[in-house]
């Protein structure tokens, strides 16, 4: 019917509100089992097992950090070597210009700096942050997401999404309520 089609295109998805992390975890698992994939679960603190329940077992932050650290370390060492042995050599008693024991300190510090910057910037970039707008913020109840409420979102873009059946499915998970999320 035409009205249902228009309604489906106009909302971002449906969201179920819980007041208990265990219920959210259970609900997320059931939603994943039911075949929904474009789902998200939000909590005011990291709930153990929740990301796995969404089908998101591991992330690439560790790799980014490793690369950042290697980059930082190489930068530190090459900079010192180039400056001390090539560009501005200081002859102190004929000692070797590539004085690598002395270069360890700054190399180490820049490795840490590179890794730390990669950790933060990488984490934010992979998360897509800053993201000042998200349709979930259109739901007034979502204000409590950062306090003591837990939410499960099913996006309208999911192939199994249907206004009616998805709403019924979410209601079967015993939430406080199920709400529309406007675009």
């Amino acid at each position: 019917m035409v009205e249902v089609e228009t309604m489906k295109k106009n909302i971002f998805g449906l969201v179920a509100e819980f007041d208990n992390p265990d219920r959210l975890l259970e609900a997320t698992r059931r939603a994943h089992e039911a075949g929904y994939r474009k789902i998200d679960a939000t909590s005011p603190y990291p709930v153990e097992g929740l990301a796995e329940a969404l089908g998101f077992p591991r992330n690439r932050v560790s790799l980014v950090v490793l690369l950042g650290g290697i980059l930082g370390g190489l930068t530190g060492y090459i900079m010192q070597y180039f400056i001390a042995a090539v560009y501005y050599p200081i002859n102190s008693g004929g000692r070797p210009l590539n004085s690598w024991p002395a270069f360890i300190v700054i190399t180490f510090e820049l490795t840490i700096l590179g890794a730390a910057l990669a950790a933060v910037l990488g984490m934010l970039a992979l998360n897509g942050l800053p993201m000042p707008y998200h349709p979930l913020f259109n739901v007034p109840a979502f204000q409590l997401a950062s306090r003591d409420r837990f939410f499960l979102v099913v996006e309208a873009g999911d192939p199994r999404f249907d206004q009616v059946t998805t709403r019924q499915f979410l209601l079967s998970l015993n939430p406080r309520e199920v709400l529309d999320v406007a675009r």
Binding site: T28, D40, A41, T42, S43, P44, Y45, P46, V47, L50, A51, A53, L54, F56, N59, V61, S62, V65, G76, M79, Q80, I83, A84, Y87, Y88, I90, S99, A102, F103, V105, I106, F108, E109, L110, I112, L113, A115, A116, L117, A119, V120, G122, M123, L124, L126, N127, L129, P130, M131, P132, Y133, H134, F137, F142, Q143, L144, A145, S146, R147, D148
Partner: protein, 451 residues
Amino acid sequence: MIHQGPPVLAPGHTFATITDKIASIVQTRHTPLGWFAGLAVGATLVGVLLLSVAYLFFKGVGIWGINIPVAWGFAIVNFVWWIGIGHAGTLISAILLLLNQSWRTSINRFAEAMTLFAVMCAGLFPLLHMGRPWFFYWMGPLPNTLGLQPQFRSPLVWDVFAVSTYATVSFLFWYVGLIPDLATLRDRAQGKVGQILYGVFSLGWRGSARHWSRYETAYLLLAGLATPLVLSVHTVVSFDFATSIMPGWHSTIFPPYFVAGAIYSGFAMVLVIAIPLRKYYGLEDFITERHLDNMSKVMLATGLIVAYGYLMEIFFAWYSGNHFERFMISNRIFGPYGYAYWALILFNILIPQALWSKRVRHRVGLVFLISLAVLLGMWLERYVIVITSLHRDFLPSSWGMYSATIWDYATFAGTIGLFVTLMFLFIRFLPMISIAEMRTLLAETQRGKGH
């Protein structure tokens, strides 16, 4: 694990009460009068700092008490003291996280803020103490028309990189921890200014589980990175002394001795901040007797390591048979600066031994006074190390005396004012306890996994 003794989080709290208790300190119409008083004191001292720095830049470092042979005076003493204080914040945040100590949760936010502000105060001194501060950028490897580059084999250049890295990583760790809490404040904000500012700085955080997963990985890795960093930073600072040939400085015990001393003074500062905060803001449920007990124990332990360092210095001097070393030690103890040495022994070693007693550890007022004593003692330690080695070294005809001028004291007091001002601004506008981590702690306690 079953623990006797007071809990880490007082019972009867929910996610909502934790959030409201901490956030309502920030988002309130009624700023306590005491806050204005504290800010006024801090701001006045910042005025003193600005005056001292202006006069310093106008006249030069001669306004300080430095001379030949004592060319390093209060500036380096204060630098080392402030950096040392900063280390406890990183230890609480990073090392206690890696060791799975849940008692870190209610103290790590303001401890990290303390680190950040202490490093800012410390960082002023290398800039101020330069004879030609307008050339400060010569310390960095920047291309320039003179073709000059820094001497990478110098610990003073190592300091530039170590302290800059430490400041940056501390800031990152603190900010990342704040993001979910800023989202909480954004959602609770009533006024437009609050909504916009907290909204901007929370980066649109919405608590998505995938985001939390990456966040936790990044946070844990930052902790793992910050741990060797904090050990290395004070080691590099100790190298300012240890890589020289001065009697009393040229000693391999300096790195662990300085690091232990840093943690010692840092925990003292955390206690000096935590005790009034928990009283005046009613946070006894979150910063419990258990926290004060644990922090006192860490202070006692690191104080004993520092005492061991003092003993070893005396032993090295005697065992080496080197008459310069032996003179240095007897000059420290019995020479013209002996009063400072004995005060040091009193404040750093003798007074804190009271913390062996459980009754003392549980008396908040006594712990506060002992912490103040430790702060003073650690400052005196830096003073004794710097001044006594410099004023009488190898050649008696070069001997001299050092006395600080009013400008030395004014600059130091000014940096204390800067620290106080920044702390007061922090507690007014940002949550001084990590709300998101307290929720995690509550969830773990409810599951019976609490330590």
